[in-house]
Symmetry: C2
Subunit: 419 residues, 2 copies
């Protein structure tokens, strides 16, 4: 380590990324004599370079050395098919989530829908009710955009004081995909919305008949009937053959297995916007229709239950997002919020999409508390955990974007803490 | 069909997309009486809405109703592990290719590499040779960008006069992903490039020791050591644990299973840049190092071997790309190039990435020849098939971006034709 050449930009080891890029990381690569390269670096020719491997295949899969999986809870006989699975955020990079690892939330499991037997109805306060087959919808002009999707219950264990956990177990209900579909506004224009219609009620074809209400202004803005995810037909667990996709808003409103859009003068007051997906406040009242997901960020590495092998140079990296715009900057602290440095943005800064950030960190082997704090293009700054609790108490259950703190102890163990 | 209200913008049925969007597609959705909706539209409650399905799972998969696969050739005992598989372009939308469907090209099969035993060496004309472990590289700042990757032999059957085929069999050697990795320039700066080094020789750890030479200017520009693809570790068939990624250039130069970068004063003259991946001209000479992939587009639907069931309204859609910039516009013809209309762009127009286009088309039930023609941000216009042949003959094998023509006959059958 060339410790004396690293320019520190905030407390406890955060390093100037530009300075670092200009000079190299100074020691991550092992310097060797070129003439003795093979012997010095142990460069024997490995077995996999000596024998041809299997040829091309019809359908690819990940390396057996990665083993990445979602974390799903045990089945509950009283709630058949219900539950969640969580994305392994701490092992991913970039911003796209592979479809096989996209988080899930089901209310009555995954229906096995034959698209030839599926219909989408648009009715209620329209000039002309319409019924669409799957093949009909494929003929419409579509839009492809990269958007995050986050369950409104993501991160709730932190405000409820649940100790421990990993990036996956605490925050794994957020993923990001290229969503392709028909603008809902196109179909609503075709049906002809009556002037006094102010909401659309969206209903799924699963056994829960999952339903949610969307204000007409949002429905006519950027909402899609999503038919493709990361290039391929939407997966069954994401709503095959079609789902509503409501960019930036709590995930539950992006109704999967979409079969009906009904124009109404008032919200439908479905179960999942009254008894659930409303935020219980300390005074016993509840906030309803808290739609946009708030500005949030998360350090994915180092993160909970990882172990740093030794003092030295590390890369802090993570993701940031906002339901109200793009991410304009992310700050990182290594001393529990006493000092902050601006992180580098590694990805595109898209509207309502995950954004990847990083900053180099020289861990001195002592205690540290790592935090990140995002600011979005609308000027919203990520709330602290205390600010979230002060605003909505500890039983709101949904909408908890509070700053995540990861404590590093002198053994290099990383743990979720409340500070 | 409200035929009389559609505004035609080019010959043989191409329709003004803006006009269309304003008025609805006029008939794709079945108009029904709201009070008789269920009976009129056959809306019985399907079986999948009555019983809960399976719950969340550890690893997702596509619907059994899609069945999308790559097309791989039969194994060749004289070329163990060698060959290709092709992406089913005609069934995808948006621009991202799911990793399981990304095309493959292997020269000695897919090595089963344990990243703990894999090394990346940088040596040759450098101040300090370096060896990197996989874990070392994960600590560097990375860049995430969406880029296409295309085999330089993609589309070659068309200039060689091979009849028939589909979008997949003719053009399925192009795919598009979010690639995340360490800029090669970062590692070269750390090793210290000598002033007279002008090429890098990149070598893979497969049994073919696949090698390619890259000019130093490109190596210091946008080349990555790619470690992640669409968010997850690069798949084995794409180079796990790491590959070179050379944006916009012929796919073969993005060396998979990368194990060595050697700085040199001249190209290494590897087998795959001399006897292969050079373009044989009619006079017997060959062009070498024809790196950037040219401006190209392709209608993916309707496309070869599809069948249009009846006269009426269709969506023409496809992809366009260029190794020299972003796509600035795509034109479509339905009359074999006599008249052209500008298509709508459905995706972001990214540098060196696929771009999705579409235009509505009213098929009158007669003969038609569908074509698309892309223009990139550098002003390059896609070549006709004749222009490609005039420039490089019919045996160049590589680099054939010529305009694709799909003929539609009165039976609705779509076929690859040369016009």
């Amino acid at each position: 380590m060339k410790k004396n050449t690293l320019e520190h930009v905030a407390g406890n080891g955060l390093i100037n990324r530009r300075h670092l890029l200009g000079m190299g990381l100074g020691g991550l690569g092992l310097a060797v004599s070129d003439s003795l390269l093979a012997a010095d670096a142990g460069l024997q020719i490995p077995a996999w370079s000596k024998t041809p491997g299997p040829g091309p295949s019809a359908y690819g899969g990940p390396s057996r050395h990665t083993g990445l999986q979602r974390l799903a809870g045990a089945p509950n006989a009283l709630y058949p098919g219900g539950g969640i699975s969580r994305t392994p955020l701490q092992h991913l990079q970039g911003v796209i989530t592979p479809n096989s690892l996209h988080f899930e939330r089901h209310h009555a499991g995954v229906p096995d829908i034959d698209p030839a037997g599926h219909k989408l109805v648009i009715n209620g306060m329209v000039r002309q009710p319409l019924v669409f087959d799957y093949e009909d919808l494929l003929k419409y002009p579509m839009v492809s955009k990269v958007y995050f999707l986050e369950c409104s219950g993501n991160g709730r264990s932190n405000t409820q004081g649940v100790p421990g956990g990993t990036a996956q177990t605490i925050h794994g209900l957020v993923s990001c995909s290229e969503w392709t579909g028909v603008p809902l506004s196109t179909l609503l224009d075709e049906a002809g919305v009556q002037s006094n219609a102010s909401w659309v009620a969206a209903v799924g074809a699963d056994a829960a008949s999952m339903g949610r209400s969307v204000p007409i202004e949002k429905a006519m803005d950027d909402v899609l009937i999503a038919l493709y995810q990361n290039g391929e037909p939407v997966r069954p667990e994401q709503g095959y053959p079609m789902r509503l996709f409501v960019p930036g808003w709590e995930g539950n409103i992006s109704v999967k297995w979409l079969t009906q859009i009904k124009l109404t003068a008032a919200p439908a007051q479905f179960r999942d916007e009254t008894s659930k997906y409303s935020d219980l406040l300390p005074d016993g009242s509840a906030r309803q229709f808290t739609f946009p997901m708030e500005t949030k960020s998360l350090i994915t590495s180092p993160s909970g239950e990882m172990k740093l092998p030794q003092a030295g140079l590390y890369k802090i990296t993570g993701i940031a997002w906002s339901g109200s715009g793009s991410i304009s900057r992310v700050e990182v602290s290594a001393d529990g919020g006493r000092s902050w440095a601006e992180a580098m943005i590694e990805s595109e800064q898209r509207d309502k999409a995950l954004t990847r950030f990083s900053i180099p960190w020289e861990w001195n082997g002592g205690d540290a508390i790592l935090q990140s704090r995002a600011t979005d293009s609308a000027g919203n700054v990520q709330l602290s955990r205390e600010a979230v609790v002060a605003d909505r108490g500890t039983n709101a259950f949904y909408h908890n974007p509070g700053i995540q703190s990861w404590a590093v102890n002198s053994a290099g163990e990383v743990a979720n803490v409340a500070v």
